[in-house]
């Protein structure tokens, strides 16, 4: 494994910053897509207005998958190249992904109670989604627990890469096993009125997620740069 890139030490210039306006814009777009889809989508034949929970639950689940895919890519990249920045991107995506994973679970429970009649069941889909959440909660706990930067980066890259393998298992669980949760909907099983609402809400949440991951990463880099500066100062002091 190559030595970690300490280029931040040699480059005391302030790390770049994403404009906070990008976040404001993303969040306003999300509010707009939600308002649009709540007000325009018709009651569904079986579950009536409850179908509207789809516009938050399903995008949250998709973005969870996407965030953990980012963790996978950057964890593998870290293990390969040993660049500190890749570790920080993976950590940022893991934190945002775990947050969205938790949101997906809670939204599923809120939807399940009126639609299925139960808050929770231990079927393959719900259980594997909870396991995914626990893996990445463990990932974040690991990062809080290990003090040595290199050790933390290496261990969490391993956990992140292996944990992300659970993503396709979660996705396929409803196809592989018999579950209470229904299989994924597609444009063929959704009325166009619902497809449009789902797509725009997914894109809006995608923008929010990208902003969150970028911002988290920039903060992590700033923290790291400050830490390195403090270390350098301590070493340089008589």
């Amino acid at each position: 494994m190559p030595a970690p890139d300490r280029s931040l030490d040699a480059r005391p210039a302030r790390p770049p910053r994403t404009s906070p306006w990008m976040g404001v814009a993303a969040i306003l777009v999300l509010a707009a897509t939600q308002a649009y889809s709540i007000s325009t989508s018709p009651a569904e034949g079986d579950m009536g207005h409850l179908q509207k929970i789809m516009y938050v639950h399903v995008p949250a689940a998709w973005m969870t998958f996407l965030a953990f895919f980012v963790v996978l890519v950057f964890s593998v990249k870290y293990l390969w190249k040993g660049r500190e920045d890749d570790d920080l991107v993976a950590a940022s995506a893991a934190e945002v992904g775990a947050t969205l994973n938790g949101l997906t679970l809670v939204l599923g429970m809120i939807w399940g109670r009126p639609a299925w009649g139960v808050w929770w069941v231990w079927d393959a889909r719900l259980t594997s989604t909870l396991v995914l959440f626990l893996i990445f909660a463990g990932y974040l706990a690991l990062r809080a627990f290990v003090d040595d930067e290199q050790q933390r980066a290496r261990w969490s890259a391993a956990v992140g890469a292996i944990g992300a393998i659970n993503v396709p298992i979660v996705y396929m669980s409803v196809k592989w096993w018999r579950t209470l949760h229904q299989p994924p909907s597609s444009p063929a099983t959704l009325d166009p009125a619902y497809t449009m609402g789902l797509r725009i809400n997914a894109f809006a949440l995608l923008f929010v997620m990208i902003f969150f991951i970028r911002k988290r990463y920039e903060i992590a880099r700033l923290e790291r740069a400050a830490e390195h500066a403090a270390e350098a100062a301590a070493l340089g002091a008589p």
Binding site: V106, L107, I110, E223, A226, A229
Partner: protein, 58 residues
């Protein structure tokens, strides 16, 4: 068989409000967390990295 429990259907909106409410609590909560972590990191950076933004410089 429709309408076995019509009042449950009426209360569907409370589940819908709860779902959207939780979504916004999580999104805005995470945003607040980022803003606070960002402010802290900025302050540390300005304090520890001389010339790169300390003493009010940006």
């Amino acid at each position: 068989m429709t309408g076995i429990v019509d009042d449950i259907v009426a209360s569907n909106w409370s589940f819908i409000y709860a779902a959207y409410g939780v979504t916004w609590v999580v999104i805005l909560g995470y945003l607040v967390r980022l803003v606070r972590a960002g402010a802290r990191a900025n302050a540390d950076y300005a304090r520890l990295v001389p010339g790169a933004g300390g003493e009010g410089a940006r």
